[in-house]
C-alpha cells in the first residue's frame, strides 16, 4: 500500500522525512521540484553504476577507435603520404581521445535513462490529483506500508502531526 503526503514547503517535507525516519519508516521516496539535500533526498535506489558504466564504455571506445584507425590506415587502405609511417600512433591519439569522451558521455546518459527506466511518459503517480505540482511548488513523500488497515492507520496517525496538506492512500503506484 502506498501512502502519499503532500507538503507546501521544502522545509516541511524535510522535517517530515527526518521525523518519519526516526520513528522507523525506512522506505521513503521524496518528489520535489529541486533536489533536497543529499541525505534527505533519499530514495529506493542504492548505489548506482553510472560511473563504472561510463568508464567501461570509455575503455571499449578507446580500443575501438584505435583499432578502426589502424585497420583503415595500415591494413585496409595503406597509402604513403610523404613517407610518413602507416602506423602513426601519436597521430591517432586525437581521434581516440574524442571518441572516448563521446562514448563515455553517451554511456552515462543512456545509463541514467536505463536505471530510471525512462522515458516513461505515464506513471501511476501522475494520476494522483495534484501530483503535477511536485514539479512546480509542492513537495511529496511516498511511503510504502503493509497492505492492512492497521498499518495505514498507523501511518496516518504518525503523519498527522507533521501537518501535510493532504494524505493520499493509494492501492498501488
Amino acid at each position: 500500500m502506498t501512502v502519499l503526503l503532500e507538503f507546501a514547503t521544502a522545509e516541511g517535507a524535510v522535517h517530515a522525512v527526518r521525523t518519519l525516519t526516526a520513528v522507523g519508516y525506512l522506505d521513503i521516496e521524496t518528489h520535489a521540484p529541486f533536489p533536497l539535500t543529499e541525505d534527505e533526498a533519499r530514495g529506493r535506489g542504492g548505489s548506482f553504476p553510472i560511473a563504472p558504466l561510463a568508464l567501461g564504455a570509455g575503455v571499449v571506445a578507446m580500443a575501438a577507435a584505435y583499432f578502426i584507425q589502424w585497420y583503415a590506415n595500415v591494413w585496409s587502405y595503406p597509402i604513403d603520404t610523404g613517407g610518413r609511417p602507416l602506423h602513426a600512433g601519436p597521430a591517432f591519439v586525437p581521434t581516440v581521445f574524442e571518441t572516448i569522451g563521446l562514448i563515455a558521455t553517451l554511456a552515462a546518459f543512456f545509463g541514467f535513462l536505463l536505471l530510471e527506466r525512462l522515458p516513461r511518459l505515464w506513471q501511476p503517480l501522475f494520476d494522483v490529483d495534484g501530483f503535477e505540482r511536485s514539479a512546480v511548488d509542492r513537495f511529496w513523500l511516498e511511503l510504502e506500508t503493509d497492505d492492512t488497515v492497521e498499518a495505514v492507520d498507523r501511518v496516518t496517525r504518525d503523519a498527522m502531526p507533521l501537518e501535510p496538506l493532504r494524505i493520499v492512500i493509494g492501492s498501488d503506484t
Binding site: 521540484p33 533526498a41 535506489g45 560511473a51 603520404t81 581521434t95 558521455t105 541514467f112 503535477e132 514539479a135
Partner: protein, 454 residues
C-alpha cells in the same frame, strides 16, 4: 593563545528572486512573447534568407564565387569556422568547469550559455562543409565501410577536426538536455494548454522528481561535466593543430593550442555578455541574473583577456628569436605592416585594450558597457583569426606569389547570414526552452535559508 582561522565569506553572486519569482520568471517567456521578440525574429529571418541564398549560390556555382584563391586557399570559411567554434566554448566552460568547482552562481546563466554553445557549434560546422565544395559527400570524412574501399586519412588534422567537432556537439547536447530535463518537467506541469503540455511532457521523458532520480541525474551530470571539461580544452587545441602542423610561418607553432583555447573561451564569454545583457532586460530577469553575476562574468572576461595578452607577447617574443627569417618577417613585418596591417592594430585595440575598461568596478556593473565590450571583443577575435589565416597565407616566402585577398559579396553574405541564423535559432530557444536552471537556483536558495536558520 590559540590561533583562530578566519574564513572569508564567499564573495559569490546570489540570485535575489524568491522561489515563486524564479519559476514565474522562467515560465513567463514560454507563455507570452514580447513585441520586440517579433521584431528581432523578423530581422533574423530576413538575414537567414540571405544566408540561405548565398549558400545555395555557393553550392550551385562552386566555391569559386568566394574570394579565396591560391595562395590564400583558406579564408572566410575557415576564419568563420574557428570563430564560431570558439564562441561555442564558453557555454561548456561556464557550465562544466564551474559545476566541477561548485560555483552555484553559474545556474543563472548556464542554460543561456549552453544553448549558445550548441547553436554556435552547429553553425561552425556548416563552414568546412561548404568549403568541401561538394557538401553532399561530407560523410566521406567519417570511417565507414564503403564499396570504394577508401578510408579517411587519420594522420590529417582535418580528420581530427571531424572527430573533435562532432563529439563536442553531441556531448554538449547531451549535457544540455540532461540539465534541462527537470525544467522541461516544470514546463509540462506549470503551463496551461493540452498540446503544450504534451510536447513538453514528451521531452521531459516522464521525470517525476524522485530523490533517486535527482541523485542519479546529478551523478551522470558530474561525469559528463568532467568529460566535457576535457573535451572543451581538446576541441580548440585540435582546431589549432590544423594550423600548427602545417609548415607555414604564422601557423607552425607549439604555442597555438593553449593560445587558441584561451581565445576561444574569451570570445565565448564575450558572446555570453552580449546575449545576457539584453535578455535580462527584455524578460525582466534582473533579479535572477543580477549585477553581481555580470560583475563575475566581467572579471572572468578581464582575466582571460590578460591571459590572451600574455599569449600574444609569448608569440611575438618566440618569433623575434626565431632562426627562420620567414617567421621573423611574418610576425614582425607582414602581420603589423603588411596588406592587413591596419586590421592587426585594430585587433590589438579590441582584444587587449577593451578588457582594460573592466578594471573599473563601476563599468563592470554597467550592463551597456559590458555588452559593448563583448561586441568589441567578438570583432577583435574574428580579426585575430583573419590575421592568422589570411595574413600568413597572403604573404609567403615567395613575393611573386603574394596575393592581396579580398572577400566577395558571397563571403560577406554568408558571414552576416550566419549571425542572423544564430540569432534566429537563439530566439526560438528563448521562446521554447526554460532559460535558467530553476532547480539549481531554488536548491541554492533552500540551502542558504537552511544555513541561516542553523
Amino acid at each position: 593563545m590559540s590561533a583562530q582561522v578566519l574564513v572569508a565569506p564567499p564573495d559569490l553572486p546570489v540570485t535575489t528572486a524568491g522561489d515563486r519569482e524564479i519559476v514565474e520568471a522562467v515560465l513567463a517567456p514560454l507563455r507570452t512573447t514580447p513585441p520586440l521578440w517579433w521584431v528581432l525574429f523578423a530581422i533574423c529571418a530576413a538575414g537567414t534568407v540571405l544566408w540561405l541564398g548565398a549558400v545555395v549560390y555557393t553550392v550551385a556555382a562552386g566555391i569559386g564565387v568566394w574570394g579565396n584563391n591560391i595562395p590564400v586557399a583558406w579564408a572566410f570559411a575557415i576564419v568563420n569556422f574557428v570563430w564560431w567554434i570558439g564562441i561555442g566554448h564558453a557555454g561548456t566552460f561556464i557550465s562544466a568547469f564551474l559545476m566541477l568547482l561548485n560555483q552555484p552562481w553559474r545556474a543563472a546563466v548556464s542554460r543561456i550559455a549552453e544553448s549558445m554553445t550548441l547553436i554556435a557549434v552547429a553553425i561552425a560546422g556548416t563552414f568546412p562543409l561548404l568549403h568541401l565544395g561538394r557538401p553532399w559527400f561530407f560523410y566521406w570524412l567519417t570511417p565507414y565501410p564503403s564499396t570504394m574501399g577508401v578510408w579517411p586519412n587519420f594522420k590529417s588534422a582535418l580528420a581530427w577536426d571531424v572527430a573533435a567537432v562532432v563529439s563536442y556537439f553531441i556531448v554538449s547536447t547531451t549535457f544540455f538536455y540532461l540539465g534541462a530535463i527537470p525544467d522541461l518537467a516544470l514546463a509540462r506541469d506549470g503551463l496551461q494548454g493540452r498540446r503544450r503540455r504534451q510536447v513538453y511532457g514528451v521531452f521531459a521523458l516522464g521525470w517525476n522528481g524522485a530523490g533517486t532520480q535527482w541523485r542519479r541525474r546529478r551523478a551522470a551530470l558530474k561525469i559528463i561535466a568532467g568529460i566535457v571539461a576535457a573535451l572543451v580544452v581538446s576541441v580548440h587545441s585540435i582546431v589549432s593543430l590544423d594550423f600548427s602542423i602545417a609548415q607555414l610561418a604564422g601557423w607552425h607553432s607549439t604555442n597555438l593550442p593553449p593560445y587558441f583555447v584561451i581565445g576561444a573561451v574569451y570570445s565565448g564569454v564575450a558572446m555570453v555578455l552580449v546575449l545576457v545583457v539584453p535578455i535580462r532586460r527584455l524578460y525582466r530577469l534582473e533579479s535572477i541574473i543580477t549585477l553581481d553575476h555580470l560583475d563575475k562574468l566581467a572579471r572572468l572576461l578581464l582575466t582571460i583577456g590578460l591571459l590572451l595578452t600574455y599569449c600574444y607577447v609569448v608569440e611575438f617574443v618566440i618569433a623575434s628569436r626565431s632562426s627562420d627569417p620567414l617567421e621573423r618577417t611574418t610576425y614582425l613585418q607582414h602581420w603589423p605592416f603588411g596588406y592587413f596591417g591596419w586590421l592587426f592594430w585594430l585587433m590589438l585595440v579590441f582584444n587587449v585594450g577593451t578588457p582594460q575598461l573592466l578594471w573599473s568596478a563601476r563599468l563592470r556593473r554597467t550592463p551597456a558597457v559590458l555588452a559593448g565590450a563583448g561586441v568589441a571583443i567578438l570583432a577583435g577575435m574574428w580579426l585575430e583569426r583573419f590575421i592568422i589565416v589570411v595574413a600568413s597565407l597572403a604573404q609567403g616566402a615567395l613575393p611573386s606569389s603574394w596575393f592581396a585577398y579580398r572577400p566577395t559579396w558571397v563571403d560577406w553574405s554568408i558571414l552576416a547570414g550566419s549571425l542572423s541564423l544564430f540569432g534566429l535559432v537563439f530566439l526560438l530557444f528563448l521562446r521554447f526552452v526554460p532559460a535558467a536552471a530553476t532547480d539549481e537556483l531554488r536548491r541554492d536558495r533552500f540551502e542558504r535559508a537552511a544555513r541561516v536558520q542553523r
